[in-house]
Symmetry: C2
Subunit: 130 residues, 2 copies
DNA sequence: GTTGTAGTTTACGTTAGCGTCAATGGTATA
DNA sequence: TATACCATTGACGCTAACGTAAACTACAAC
């Protein structure tokens, strides 16, 4: 259940230094074994997943930190919870926006593809005309 | 039609230095006016759009460069064109992958949202019970 | 002519995100 | 006991991606 830093690093295909760096940033708080070695619970792994995704998809460090904190607190206050839910709404909208942009990006590539394949067909046609 | 570096920078909300930097990298080749000032055509703007999107969505610098080059060459050779088309296919598949991951990310946030809103309802319910 | 604004190149400065020692300690296998 | 391998905490190094300043040119307004 509890993973070592090596296992975690391997799982996410990064160096152990990278994991430690995120801890330095306050994004992770792994528990320690009797011999002071980091042990990673499922929760920490979930946070790491969020971190890497966040990075890949252009969320700012600040945003990532906030999202990660969602995992850290059992927020008990109603106000806190309401804020959290609202924040989640917002993030989900942003994700929708990003998805839309990727779809657009694909469309444009498809257009390029269209032009190129057409050109290709023309060229090949000419070959047979002679 | 032709924009100055300032206009371009403003349009993309970056500094002029950033634009020049991308030129240093060989990603842009703006024409020059009679007084040696950069002029940006529609093509260059399209390339910039690609660059920023590529960055936002985790494409590597190498990949971005290759994608940008698609705009630069009127590839005439059949082999070249075929390679280009193939490369485009591949990129589009990668985009599909990224979309899928974002969808997954949203799902997970939705789960969290579910937990939080439920908790919130419980808390509010307790308030009225007393 | 000079004051102002926008452009140019050259070059050095800065920060995030790690890479890479160095020094040390625990555990286990020979 | 020694060799080996994993962990730990500094701490310094490095590169990408710009920021920023210096020194210059071009054009427009005063």
């Amino acid at each position: 259940m509890l993973k070592t830093i090596q296992e975690v690093a391997k799982q996410f295909n990064v160096s152990t230094r990278t994991i430690r760096y995120y801890e330095e940033l306050g994004l992770l708080n792994p528990n320690r074994s009797s011999t002071n070695q980091r042990t990673f619970s499922k929760k920490e792994l979930a946070k790491l997943k969020l971190i890497f995704r966040g990075k890949r998809y252009g969320f700012s460090p600040e945003e990532i930190k906030e999202m990660v904190l969602l995992f850290d607190y059992d927020r008990t206050g109603i106000q806190q919870l309401e804020r959290t839910v609202e924040y989640g709404e917002q993030k989900m909208q942003e994700i929708d926006g990003k998805i839309a942009e990727l779809v657009q990006m694909k469309k444009e590539l498809q257009q390029l593809q269209g032009i190129f394949t057409e050109k290709l067909a023309t060229l090949k046609g000419e070959m047979h005309d002679e």
